[in-house]
């Protein structure tokens, strides 16, 4: 059995292990960042910390706070969730629910979206060399913010 949380998004269901899933919260206000890929919604202040937020769908009501290799990452875009112990998937690292395999959410790949050097340089000064991630770079955030509007939907 594997403990964790299964997120139900429009694109499918994804499993997040309990060791990684820290807490589920109602989504706070998210501040956009210039030049960020469309799946990086911005940064949000939650649980007393500024956390980069990525999306796996369109819903903006809930946020799952995850610890990915010492980095905090907020995930939004799922309509529902189910937490508990689940049977392991017949293949891969996911779990099985009602006979269906649910893949594990590729959080490392999502976190890699935060590597600023890979972003479009539109709105940012071009940087090369040093690998910078969004962690501790929230000062790049736009001064104005709105939650759930003005963003391109997938």
């Amino acid at each position: 059995m594997r403990g964790g949380i299964v997120l139900r998004a429009a694109s499918g269901s994804f499993f997040v292990p309990a060791a990684v899933a820290r807490e589920l919260r109602t989504a706070p206000e998210i501040t956009r960042i210039l030049g960020a890929p469309e799946d990086v919604l911005g940064v949000a202040l939650t649980a007393g910390e500024v956390v980069p937020v990525v999306r796996i769908g369109v819903d903006r009501r809930l946020l799952l706070l995850c610890s990915v290799q010492d980095d905090l990452l907020g995930v939004v875009g799922f309509e529902g969730a189910r937490a508990g112990l689940f049977a392991e998937a017949s293949e891969g690292t996911g779990v099985s629910i009602d006979g269906h395999d649910v893949p594990e959410l590729a959080l490392v790949e999502l976190r890699d979206l935060l590597v600023v050097d890979r972003w479009s340089t539109r709105g940012l000064s071009a940087t090369t060399g040093e690998r910078r991630t969004l962690r501790n770079t929230h000062l790049l955030a736009e001064p104005t913010s709105d939650r759930g509007s003005g963003r391109r939907e997938p």
Partner: protein
């Protein structure tokens, strides 16, 4: 002719074929006055009916205003309840999040240790889901009620407008009735001047003619059955003034 017995003169006079034209004039005048009286009565009834309609419309407007106030109050209350339901909905959603976090915490614990948390989390989550669903249904029902109230409000406003229009029409009708009454008053004066009569006189004349016809009919019935002397002695006190009048009129006609 002066030596003729009065009752015979009366019968002769009464049986004498009247001059055609004056009789027709008199009948026409009488018809005119009757028609005038009917018109006056009808116009007066119209005026009174118009006043009653205006009064009833005023009451109706008051009632409709009351309904509109109540509908507005209900709509306002409904809006407050709808907001409360939205808050209830949010509370259930937060409860569901809490339950999921409890289950997550239970899943994070070693096997067996986290079982109570998992059970509680599942139970609370199920209740929260039911609560959320019920709150959503109630919100939807309140949305329907609010829509119905909006329609009632629109209908009430329409009724108010219709009532207002009816009041205006009623006022116009009342004004027209007053004008008609004044016009009939003028007609009455013109008739009085033209014919030299008035409705009361014409009515009295008509009644007198009716009584005279009844008298003639009665005399015709008695003719041959009762001695004439008896008839004359009974009728003389009553008809002598009439006989004198008719004799005077006849003398004037003859002269």
């Amino acid at each position: 002719m002066a030596d003729e017995k009065p009752q015979r003169r009366l019968l002769r006079l009464l049986r004498r074929r009247p001059k055609a034209k004056p009789a027709r004039d008199s009948a026409d005048q009488n018809s005119l006055w009757i028609a005038h009286e009917r018109a006056v009565t009808s116009v007066r009834e119209v005026g009174e009916a118009t006043q009653r309609i205006a009064s009833n419309l005023a009451k109706q407007r008051g009632a409709v205003d009351g309904i509109a106030d109540r509908a507005r109050a209900i709509a306002s209350r409904s809006s407050e309840l709808s907001q409360s339901l939205r808050r209830v909905h949010e509370v259930f959603e937060r409860l569901a999040v809490l339950a999921l976090n409890a289950s997550l915490e239970g899943a994070r614990q070693p096997e067996g240790v986290g079982q109570p948390l998992l059970l509680i989390g599942d139970e609370v989550r199920n209740h929260a889901a039911r609560g959320t669903e019920l709150a959503r249904e109630l919100e939807s029902a309140f949305g329907d009620v609010t829509g119905e109230l909006a329609q009632i409000g629109a209908s009430v406003e329409s009724t108010k407008e219709t009532s207002h229009e009816a009041s205006s029409e009623s006022a116009r009708a009342g004004s027209a009735a007053s004008n008609a009454e004044r016009a009939l008053q003028e007609v009455r004066e013109s008739l009085r001047r033209t014919t030299g009569t008035d409705p009361e006189t014409m009515r009295a004349l008509a009644e007198a003619a009716e009584h005279a016809r009844a008298l003639v009919t009665s005399l015709g019935t008695l003719s041959g059955k009762v001695p004439e002397g008896l008839v004359a002695s009974v009728l003389r006190p009553a008809v002598e003034p009439l006989l004198r009048l008719l004799a005077y009129e006849s003398d004037e006609d003859d002269s």
